[in-house]
Symmetry: C2
Subunit: 364 residues, 2 copies
DNA sequence: TTGAAAGCGATACCAT
DNA sequence: ATGGTATCGCTTTCAA
């Protein structure tokens, strides 16, 4: 009496081999498509496998081959369109190369990031892509290549760690944006970011733990300084993570006595909250306040006015980071590569001269 | 002469056991935290493990325990904010329960979906969440529970398959939206969806392969029929997948002699293209055309005018589907549950009466 | 509490 | 071309 093909415990190579009347080794050869087998045997085994409903156990295979066919990805927040787009790029390249993606959200929390990496390493991913939450706390990242697992950094470089890194030219982009604003006559600006410090104030550039933001603020500050604007660091506003906090910051800023005449939003989520706040207060862009946002989110083109943005090749960023990683997995032994993708300032209608130019020249 | 702790091939329980001077079994007990060990031994082993830089091999563990601690997720497109939000919900619940998520994009392609599922099953995921591309081609889905792997359907129910399913009340939502439009006096409407058929035309409701869309169109058609509107099926427009195709459809529709006075967009991506098309043609919402969109994407509140939408609890959808799956993984043996989450019509400013009401009443 | 040994499901090396 | 068998790293009886 034959067993029904639907049995709980799975069918193994041994089962198939028995059914086909060959050795385990031979059955394994055809099922795993390696080695050499005669056509006759191949047919017999395939048939038996189909009849029994054989499904390979990739875990067992991974254990002996040492490759899991999996790459781990750690990002801050998959809900952020920036990351979803990058992840899509990663996933597409990975799939084409025969890899599968394990995705984890760190929520930009360093402890969560560490835990995620530990888990991923335990699952023996063939490689790891991480968008690091901190530029200073990265010992756990160093352990990755040490344990023999290739690592590629996404969007955020870390100077103390020699691995492939793919970023966009954040500094140049920020300089360009700031420059445009200053040329228009802006002197009081605000750079809003989700980054934060314990006391929510920015004392030095070293307080900025997100690599990309650090670069941008450096650019912002440098251009401001060149223009003779005092204390540019004080124009950087931290802690805009999550809708509420973000809205609160935007609202306070726009109602403050030192209301900036222009705002640079460090991502599209922040830009959206700024936009909402402006509407809510009955102000208008760019008359009352100019706005430039990082990330050319799809909706930024349809608002009134459409928003001037720094377009980043996000999908490409994902594709590139995945490609580099896969090269490493396949054994490429080269120096660490640092790829910087260009951005593009897309001028729309959210920037204009400030209403009252507070110039340093004597009035009248 | 001791080996450096940084050796290529990984440190195993056996290595730790040797270093700690205990048996492999004992070392495994403390490293895997199971069984009973004396405190003294535990300390010794832990110490040795730390010194050697031991990292557990989850693959090996999975092979003997039969659990991989992983759940597979198959969605159409992670870049679509609908799915990113749902995936975030899934990932959060999964992480709390100690599971990790393998994410795959099907691109709504049935072959890709099948391949993904095969791979996931081979990797021995503990459970599977899929947003099925087709309501009719689902034999491959049936094999999932047959092979002993719990399956939960996300957002799209399939009548022929008895598994847990979490959806939103698409039909009711569509009825409500359609009703609002008709009450305002609209008779010529357009329902735009990414769904498609070989000839891009909708002959019968059965042509609709996406579960959720099928429900919505049923609602749309039913309410239209109730209102005495002829041939509502012809008001359903297919193939709006991808920016270009989507834009093309919107543009054609808005310039056609039978220009609809109202449009229902089946997701936020479509709504955006419609919005762009309207702007591009110099038309205005809601004067020239009314618009209602499925999915309360964040930006829909800030456009001019803000868009009336059908808010879906997407993150909750993800959380729920993950919770159900995990219950099953933990052995829950109940009948298939079909959970339908409520939606909420959020009225903003994109709906108004049509300019010229083509009524069936005699003119004047 | 601890240890010895038998799997788990594949691959891989060595014969034949 | 095929078969026998050790092996991967861990868990899990079963004894001691």
């Amino acid at each position: 009496m034959e067993q029904s093909p639907i049995k709980k415990s799975s069918v193994t190579v041994a089962d198939v081999a028995r059914a086909a009347g060959v050795s385990k080794a031979t059955a394994a050869r055809v099922l795993g498509s390696y080695g050499t087998v005669s056509d006759a045997v191949r047919a017999k085994v395939s048939e038996a496998a189909a009849a029994l409903g054989y499904r390979p156990n990739e875990l067992a295979r991974s254990m002996t081959t040492g490759r899991s066919g999996t790459i781990g990805v750690v990002v801050g927040d998959i809900e952020n369109p920036f990351f979803s787009s990058a992840v899509r790029g990663i996933a597409d390249v990975a799939r084409l190369a025969g890899f599968t993606v394990i995705l984890t959200n760190s929520g930009e929390d360093i402890a969560a990031e560490k835990a995620a990496i530990r888990t991923l390493l335990a699952k023996r991913v063939d490689g790891l892509i991480v968008s690091a939450a901190s530029t200073s706390d990265f010992e756990h990242l160093l352990e990755i290549p040490d344990s023999g697992c290739p690592l590629v950094l996404l969007d955020r470089a870390i100077s103390g760690i020699e691995v492939d890194t793919v970023t966009t030219d954040d500094r140049a982009a920020a300089e360009q944006a700031t420059d445009i604003l200053i040329r228009k006559g802006h002197r009081t600006m605000a750079y809003i970011t989700a980054c934060d410090t314990p006391d929510h104030r920015l004392h030095t550039l070293n307080d900025l733990q997100t690599g990309s933001v650090r670069q941008r603020v450096e650019g912002f500050v440098a251009v401001c300084a060149d223009a003779g604007i005092a204390a540019p660091l004080e124009m950087v506003h931290l802690g805009a993570n999550g809708r509420e906090k973000c809205a609160k910051i935007a609202l306070e800023l726009l109602q403050s006595p030192q209301k900036p005449s222009a705002i640079i939003a460090s991502d599209s989520l922040i830009a959206l909250e700024v936009f909402k706040a402006v509407q809510q207060l009955g102000l208008s862009i760019p008359k009352d306040v100019s706005l430039i946002a990082f990330h050319d989110a799809d909706w930024t083109a349809v608002t009134s006015p459409p928003i001037t943005v720094i377009g980043q090749p996000v999908y490409l960023l994902g594709e590139t980071v995945a490609s580099l990683l896969i090269e490493r997995i396949n054994g490429a032994e080269l120096q660490a590569r640092r790829i910087v993708l260009p951005t593009e300032l897309i001028e729309r209608k959210s920037v204009d001269a400030p209403i009252e130019v507070v110039s340093s020249r004597p009035a009248r």
